[in-house]
Assembly symmetry: C2
Homo-oligomer: 343 residues x 2
C-alpha cells in the first residue's frame, strides 16, 4: 500500500530576497515542507519536470507585471508537469499526468482539481516535449508567429533568440507557412544549427559584428514580421529594416529582466510612425484557447520531420536556482527544464 502523503517530506524553493541583477546564491532557498493530505477535490502530485523560463526572473522582481510578483518567503512559481499520486477528485486518478494552473518549484504539490489540466502524452514522444514544443513554449511560438505577427506565405520573418525554446519553433512554423526566415542567435554553433538543421534561410550571429548591418544584408527588401524575445539593442538593430506596415510580435525582452528600473523603448522610435509599424506585446496565458489547434499542428510537423527541437534537462530540483541563469548567458542548449523526479 502506498505511504500516506502526510508522512512524506518534500522540498521547495522559496524566494528569500529579491535579486539584484542575475539570480545569486541566497536569493532563493531550498526548504523542506510536509506534503499535506489532499482535502476534498484536491490532488497531490509528484513533480516530474519544472520548466525554467526567462519570465521566472520577472516574477522575482517587485515591478508591475502580468502576474503578482512572488512574495518573499513564498514558493517560487513555475510551469510544472507532474503525476498524480493521490486524489480525492473523481476526475483524476493516480498515474494521471497533469500540469497545474500555477505550479511551484517543489517536489510535491497539493492542488485543487479545478486548477489542473490533464496532459495526454503520446507514448512515442519524450515526455519532456510537453514542456517544450508541445507545451507553453510551442504555443507561444505558434500564437506569436501566426496570430500576433500574422506571418503569411512569401513574407520575410526575423526572430531574436532564434535558437531558444520559443524562437526555434517560431521559425520552423514560419518556414512551414512559406516564409523566408532569418534567425538572430549568439555564436556560430547556434547559427549553424538554425541553417543546417532547422532549414532557416539565414542566421545572424549577434556576437560577431554589427547586428543591424547583418540583418540588412540578409533582408535587403526588409522585414515583414519580427518576433522579439530579447529587446534592447537587438530590437534597436532590427527596426530600421522593418518594411512599411511591418509587425513586431513582442514576446519577451530577456536582455532587460536582470536590470532594475524602467526599460527604455526602441532607440529610433520615430520609425514606428514613419514605417507604420505595429508593435504588439503578448503573454501566452491570454491565448490558451489556441492550444488544441497549435499542438495538433506542431505534433503533425514533428511526425512529418518538419519540426526539430532540443530539450536541455538538468537533473535534480536542488540545481534549479543555478540553472536558471543559463538562460541569461545563452548557455542552455534547447528548452531548459529540471527533471525533479523520474517519470
Amino acid at each position: 500500500m502506498m505511504a500516506r502523503m502526510s508522512e512524506r517530506v518534500g522540498r521547495v524553493w522559496r524566494l528569500r530576497q529579491r535579486p539584484q541583477g542575475p539570480l545569486k546564491a541566497g536569493d532563493l532557498v531550498l526548504d523542506e515542507q510536509a506534503v499535506g493530505d489532499p482535502r476534498p477535490d484536491e490532488v497531490v502530485l509528484r513533480t516530474i519536470f519544472l520548466s525554467l523560463d526567462p519570465t521566472n526572473r520577472i516574477w522575482m522582481s517587485d515591478v508591475d507585471q502580468y502576474l503578482p510578483p512572488v512574495e518573499i518567503g513564498q514558493p517560487m512559481r513555475g510551469v510544472t508537469l507532474g503525476v498524480v499520486e493521490e486524489s480525492t477528485s473523481p476526475r483524476f486518478q493516480p498515474g494521471d499526468l497533469v500540469t497545474p494552473h500555477e505550479g511551484t518549484w517543489s517536489t510535491y504539490q497539493t492542488v485543487s482539481a479545478s486548477r489542473l489540466s490533464r496532459i495526454r502524452a503520446a507514448p512515442d514522444l519524450p515526455l519532456s516535449a510537453y514542456m517544450s514544443v508541445l507545451g507553453p513554449p510551442g504555443l507561444t511560438a505558434y500564437v506569436g508567429m501566426l496570430d500576433i505577427g500574422q506571418a503569411r506565405e512569401g513574407q520575410t520573418v526575423t526572430i531574436s533568440a532564434a535558437a531558444g525554446a520559443v524562437g526555434s519553433v517560431a521559425g520552423q512554423i514560419a518556414r512551414a507557412r512559406g516564409c523566408r526566415v532569418i534567425g538572430i542567435a549568439g555564436g556560430e554553433e547556434k547559427c549553424r544549427w538554425l541553417t543546417s538543421e532547422l532549414s532557416f534561410d539565414g542566421a545572424v550571429d549577434y556576437k560577431k559584428g554589427h547586428v543591424g548591418e547583418q540583418v540588412r544584408a540578409l533582408c535587403p527588401e526588409g522585414i515583414d514580421v519580427h518576433f522579439e524575445n530579447v529587446g534592447g539593442a537587438i530590437l534597436d538593430a532590427v527596426i530600421p529594416s522593418m518594411r512599411i506596415g511591418g509587425r513586431i510580435a513582442l514576446c519577451g525582452m530577456i536582455s532587460t529582466y536582470n536590470d532594475d528600473g524602467p526599460v527604455l523603448g526602441p532607440r529610433e522610435f520615430q520609425r514606428v510612425l514613419m514605417q507604420r509599424l505595429t508593435i504588439q506585446g503578448f503573454i501566452i496565458m491570454d491565448h490558451f484557447a489556441r492550444a488544441r489547434e497549435a499542438y495538433a499542428e506542431i505534433e503533425t510537423m514533428i511526425r512529418d520531420g518538419r519540426l526539430k527541437w532540443k530539450d536541455h534537462i538538468v537533473d535534480g530540483l536542488e540545481n534549479a536556482a543555478d540553472a536558471v541563469n543559463l538562460l541569461f548567458t545563452g548557455q542552455n542548449d534547447g528548452k531548459l527544464m529540471v527533471r525533479v523526479s523520474a517519470a
Copy 2:
C-alpha cells in the same frame, strides 16, 4: 479675356537650409517664379488655402521618413486647396476646386491633371472646412480613432493634443460612438473648450501638474484606446494607465520634430509586454480609400450639430513660415492654414 499665365509671376517658399530646432528666419526663403503655360493634360491652379501641419517640419529634415525630404532649393511641400485658372485637361474646367496630390507653398501651381482630386464643396459650409474637418485632419482623426485605435462603444479613450485639428475631431468621433473621452491639452482655455463646447468627458491640462496622475485620476479603470499626437513625456505619462490589451494609435509625435537625432521610445517600454499593448503607427496617405465614408459621416455630424471645430486662418503666403511655429508652441487656435488668395 484672361491674361496668359505665362505673363504672371507667382511666389513660392523654397527650403534654403535644413532648420536646427524650431524653424527660423532664413531656413525658408520666399522667391518669385514665373507661372508656366500648362502642357498637355496639365492644370494651372491658384492656391486658395495652404495647410500648415506638424509634419511640415519633418519634411524639412534629412531623416528617414515616409516621404522624401524636401530638397534644398526646392519648393516647400504642403497640402493645398486651389481653383483651376487654366486647363488643358478635359476633366477640369476653370473654376473647379481641386487639391493636388502633392502641393507646394506657392501662389500658383502647374500640375498634371492625374495628380489632382476634385473638391465638391457644399455651398453652405465654409471652404476652409475642406482643409480641416472635411480634409486630411478629419480623415486622420476618423481612421486613427476607428481603424487604428478601434475605439468601440463603452470604452475609455484618451487623446493628446486634444484641442488640435486632429485630436478635437478624433474625440468627437469617439464620443459619437459612445466612448468616454478624456483630452490632454495645454492650458485652461483649451481644456474648457473640450469639456464645455465639445462635450469631452474630461480634460487634463499638461501645463498644470503631473500628467500621469491627472490621467490616472480621470481614468481610474484604465484606458482602452489612446490617440497619440505628441509623443515623448505625454506618451510616457499615459502608458501606465493603459488597460490590458489596450491600443495606442500613433498619429504623430510633435514634441520631437524639432529635435535632432533619434527619438527614444517610451520610458517604461516593458509595459507594452506586461499590459499586452498594441502600438500602431499610421500615416494618412495609406488610408485615402476611407475618405468617402469618413467625410460622409463627418458632414452628417456637422449638420447634426455633433461636431464643432475651429479654423485658424492666417492671411498671406508671406506669413506661412512664421505661422508654422505656432503649432509647436500650441499657440494656434484651431486648424492652422494660410489664406493664399481669396476664394
